[in-house]
């Protein structure tokens, strides 16, 4: 019996995050997976797993995946699909056939014509477009400026992901947002890369409007945080939404959590500079998820007193964050944070802040422009820190001078 192969259909966005998210979720859930054919140029890849329930496990968390199809026939042209034998496959239940294409729009009439030309289609049930017992997919990939596809896959839809959370928790629909609110899709991906799970304690030391603790709470973790900006925590001041002037009474972090029915996993917040030594020096959290200021957008950014050569250095902040995590994460805990990068100066993992008690797990880039990007860095605390151990960075130019280079004219 041939081992089952599956086609994963991703959303074609945030390409650098898709395979890491899939691998992270598999690792978190104990799923053994083999991946083939993945590329940043198109939204498909082939996978094999040990049992079909693994596919549903993957679909329950990965938001960069749209759906997964079991591969019945894998062809390199339409002609090949039309002549395919479909040996060993058969179904009599009602069905519908959908077509997903990348690189070219396929008209309905074209799709129907294609289906009619499939000689040995092993489906003899009735066609039901409204409530079929089984949906089948034809997935076609077109290279740029090519009228014929180079990949044509046929098979039953196994399931769709929980990607509808991206819409449900969309920032533009959210009660309380600010300029720093994280895109919903990215915040869910971040929680998956940090492997936040039910019953874990998640903390954000740059809480802002609380966007990063929403996905962990959705998955059953408890979240809390702090921020130097007391007004942001309370929801005081001028709204950033075009239709509003001042924030209303329930427009704050607590209001958001309540609107999503996640209040019962929100543990509160307080205002403080995270590096002031307010918390007891002991492991407290399972996960630290955060998006520290880059020095660009925040009006209330506290300027680092130790400015050298009149250049604003962000290094201090990220080194302090790593030290904070080294003290306050449990062993086995994860730190996930965004690091702004000047792309010309980036030299790979070596450009990232490091700490002897931490292992780098993921490093995914979101490109803003040719000049700048940010990277989601995930680090695992592998052991307790020893006396004297501290974070360090090998040269800090890639992110340390982010603000100055971002505004530099060229």
């Amino acid at each position: 019996m041939k081992e089952k192969e599956y086609l994963v259909v991703f959303a074609h966005d945030f390409q650098d995050f898709r395979i890491p998210e899939l691998l992270s979720v598999c690792e978190m859930k104990g799923v053994k997976i083999e991946i083939e054919g993945a590329s940043n140029q198109h939204p498909y890849c082939f996978i094999t797993v040990q049992q079909e329930s693994d596919i549903h496990t993957i679909l329950s968390r990965c938001v960069m995946i749209q759906f997964i199809v079991e591969v019945w026939e894998k062809c390199t042209s339409r002609k090949e699909l039309c002549a395919a034998s479909f040996t060993g496959y058969h179904s009599s239940t009602s069905f519908n056939i959908l077509l997903h294409s990348f690189g070219r729009k396929v008209a309905m009439a074209d799709k129907i014509e294609l289906i009619e030309q499939i000689e040995h289609l092993p489906l003899d049930g009735t066609v039901n477009c409204v409530h079929p017992d089984q949906v089948y997919y034809i997935c076609e990939r077109y290279a740029p400026n090519t009228p014929t596809p180079d990949m044509v896959v046929f098979g039953p839809l196994v399931g769709r992901s929980d990607r509808n959370v991206v819409d449900r928790f969309a920032v533009k629909k959210r009660l309380y947002i600010g300029r720093t609110t994280m895109d919903a899709q990215l915040s869910f991906v971040m929680a998956n890369l940090a492997k936040t799970e039910r019953g874990e304690f998640v903390y954000d030391p740059f809480l802002g409007t609380g966007s990063l603790i929403i996905p962990p709470a959705y998955h059953g973790a408890y979240g809390m945080g702090s921020d130097i900006d007391l007004k942001a925590l309370h929801g005081w001041g001028k709204s950033t939404k075009a239709t509003e002037i001042e924030y209303q009474e329930n427009q704050n972090i607590a209001g958001n959590m309540e609107s999503y029915s996640l209040s019962n996993r929100y543990l509160g917040c307080y205002s403080s500079d995270f590096s002031s030594g307010l918390l007891r020096d002991t492991p407290l959290f399972d996960v630290i998820l955060t998006d520290p200021p880059y020095g660009i957008r925040e009006a209330s950014l506290k300027v680092n007193k130790d400015i050298k050569n009149s250049q604003f250095s962000l290094s201090e902040q990220f080194l302090e964050l790593l030290n904070f995590a080294a003290t306050h994460l449990v062993t086995g805990g994860r730190l996930a944070y965004w690091l702004p990068i000047i792309r010309d100066l980036y030299q790979g993992d070596v450009s990232l802040p490091q700490h002897p008690a931490f292992q780098l797990v993921y490093n995914c880039e979101q490109v803003f422009s040719r000049k700048s990007s940010r990277r989601l860095v995930v680090m695992l605390k592998t052991r307790e820190r020893n006396e004297g151990e501290t974070s360090f960075v090998v040269g800090d130019s890639a992110h340390g001078q982010y603000r100055d280079l971002y505004f530099a004219k060229n």
């Binding site: 039910r198 209040s263 543990l267 307080y270 403080s272």
Partner: protein, 125 residues
């Protein structure tokens, strides 16, 4: 502010030697339901300062039923879940909405408004 938060904080005033726990005074306390997860409570037991939790709970009048010593994990007790639920209630469901925290050494006060403590220090503190 929940008693969990109070249990995590020590004074960050300059020059303070032993700033834990912060003195707690409350003018308004509410009860707020939080989802119970036995695993979470069990794991948090190791991360808490038990004595300070019992004291703070006593101060707010919610310490009834709290064991004097932190229950040790691994011991199968008949009413283990009951104890965990009691701890859960004290730790996560008692909400100080208005009040004050105070550094035990300097006397510096930090207001709690609408459940959110303002722990910010001035440059010189």
């Amino acid at each position: 502010m929940k008693l969990l938060t109070h249990n995590m904080m020590k004074s960050h005033c300059k020059g303070v030697v032993n700033g834990f726990p912060l003195k707690l005074s409350s003018t308004q306390v509410e009860l707020k339901e939080v989802e119970f997860n036995a695993d979470f409570i069990t794991r948090m037991l190791e991360r808490l300062e038990w004595g300070a939790l019992v004291d703070a709970a006593g101060q707010l009048g919610v310490a009834d039923g709290l064991p004097e010593m932190a229950p040790s994990s691994g011991k199968e007790e008949e009413d283990e879940e009951d104890v965990l639920r009691k701890i859960h209630h004290v730790l996560l469901e008692v909400e100080i909405t208005e009040g004050e925290l105070e550094c035990p050494e300097t006397g510096r006060k930090f207001p709690i408004k609408n459940g959110i403590p303002d722990m910010r220090l001035n440059e010189d503190e």
